[in-house]
């Protein structure tokens, strides 16, 4: 590692996520690691980033620290605008969210996400093997943010050929204009960050494509942990490991209590 920091899989996700966000853009922030990545971006290269949370806050400076919910009191203090859920989603539908930052339990090669159930849909819908929380706002963000950044821990059982249930639409079946033709807005999944690397979605096929490999992984090790065939960019990059300063910010300033970024023990 460049300057010798040790870090966890969650920490490198946070660092990668923060780097993908651009400064001065409006970012619709989902719960969990996206919040940590957003704070890290705001404190490093993107001080002009404008966070939006689905419970209704727009543009809070987040000076009171890391929210533990997207409706947390910390998201409202000194915000520029505070309404409720309808207003947040209406703004997104209108085109105000440049980026949406969402997670899921399963992902397929077109960036569709499942956060509803594990089991057989529709046959087993009313008695799923595992019942997950449900869409929340994820499917709305996936439908209407201009570009989405997905976060899914890398695991063969999570990177699947076919999802149990499609909660949040990505590039759908990958056919040209698939999103537009179903009435969706926005360009859909832009990047996916896993615990092993960073992916984009190839222009023509809309298939997931490895563009950056985290330290310790290879194209082969990542394909081996993926339940479908990955595309691989011609110039796959080695992602630079987090710096000591990034790790310090995460551990000491942003999430000192390990609310979302678990302490390695």
């Amino acid at each position: 590692m460049t300057d010798g920091a040790t870090y966890t899989a969650q920490e490198i996700i946070v660092v990668a996520g923060s780097k993908i966000i651009e400064d001065k853009k409006i970012v619709f922030v989902g719960t969990g690691l996206p919040m940590v990545a957003t704070l890290l971006a705001k404190r490093t290269h993107a001080p002009g980033l404008i966070p939006v949370f689905e419970a209704g806050a727009m543009g809070p400076p987040l000076n009171a620290g890391l929210p533990i919910s997207v409706g947390d009191s910390k998201t409202f203090t000194d915000a520029s605008y505070v309404k409720g859920l309808n207003a947040a989603f209406e703004m997104t539908q209108r085109g105000y969210a440049d980026f949406g930052f969402i997670g899921g339990a399963e992902v397929d090669m077109f960036g569709n996400l499942n956060s509803t159930m594990i089991g057989d849909y529709p046959g087993g819908y009313q008695k799923p093997a595992v019942r997950l929380p449900g869409s929340g706002g994820a499917s709305d963000m996936a439908a209407s943010c201009e570009r989405t950044i997905l976060i899914v821990p890398h695991d063969k059982r999570k990177f699947k050929e076919k999802l149990s249930y499609v909660t949040s639409p990505g590039h759908l079946d990958g056919t040209p204009n698939a999103r537009y033709n179903t009435g969706l807005q926005g360009k859909g999944p832009y990047r996916l960050i896993s615990t092993k690397g960073i992916f984009d979605f190839e222009e023509k096929t809309k298939r997931m494509r490895l563009i950056s490999v985290f330290p310790g992984e290879t194209v082969e090790s990542i394909q081996a942990a993926t339940g479908f065939e990955l595309l691989v960019a011609a110039d796959v990059k080695l992602f630079a490991p987090p710096t000591r300063e990034e790790i310090r910010l995460i551990r000491e300033e942003i999430d000192p209590n390990g609310v979302f970024v678990k302490k390695s023990s």
Partner: protein, 332 residues
Amino acid sequence: MVWTGLSPDAAREALVNKDKSMRDKRMALKEAVALFIKDGDNIGIGGFVNIRQPVAITHEMVRHGFKNLTLSFQSAGLAGDYLAGAMMLDESRFSIKRIELAYWAHESFGLSPMFRYLAERGKIEMEDWSNYNMSARFKAGAMGLPFLPTRSPLAGDVPSSNRTKIIICPFTRRKIALVPASNPNVAIIHVTAADKYGNCIIRGTDATCPEIAMASAHTIVTCEQLVDHEVIASHPKDVGIPFPAVDAVIHVPFGAYPGACRRHYYFNGDHIRRFHAAAAPMQKGGASGALKAYYDEYIYSIDTFGDFIKKFPADKLMADQAAESYNCQRPA
């Protein structure tokens, strides 16, 4: 099945025939729950995840006992858990027939063992929507409309899990979704402040509380602060829910606890985890003892929500107040 609460025509008729005058609506929580909620009702739940959930009202509903309820909400945490836990313990005393939801879990506090228990055993009908879908459904109900159009999620499996209709927009010729209004029988809402007539001020997120209250045939409101009408009327633009939408006003400090309420208290994560720990054994196929003990101690053996709050040490309550006063600094 199109309407699981009131149909739009029935919702209008109920409101037209209701006494909408400006009168004193203060009553005991026990009385409000007995007066306005019936078996089989569709209950609209206010708040968002563990923020400003109507926890005190759900405790009283559990003590009263109801059967075959439909619960409607965008994202719920503790309110759903308290009702579902009662069903886990004794379905003949308390039961949920159906839920119309976007999300039921606890963000950083994890999944809901109660939801998993009921869902994975096929004990409740589920209808999945998105947060915007449910919010728009309440909003359609509040606006007196039978539906609202939405552009999300439109694709994937959510629309086929529910009553969304996808049509061709007659103006753009593109596909658009129509989601049917939700007009619950009863809204249960916790707010920051209210006057005795039911004018409510909400600090922080409105969540979808105004929409749920305006959409429902009846609304029960608990409030952290009960203030004079003149105090509220001097800032009428702060009023989020107007008095004609409200049927009962009950002053219940800490009414969303152990969840959070802006300007008053932050989450008591320890107690949320303790409650979940009591339900976890049953979710994993084990015994009901821990959950029963929790309900006996915190709900069944006591009479009011004030008694529940008294079970917490004063220094813990003050610490949760202090945490919130850091989030939201303002002199008293």
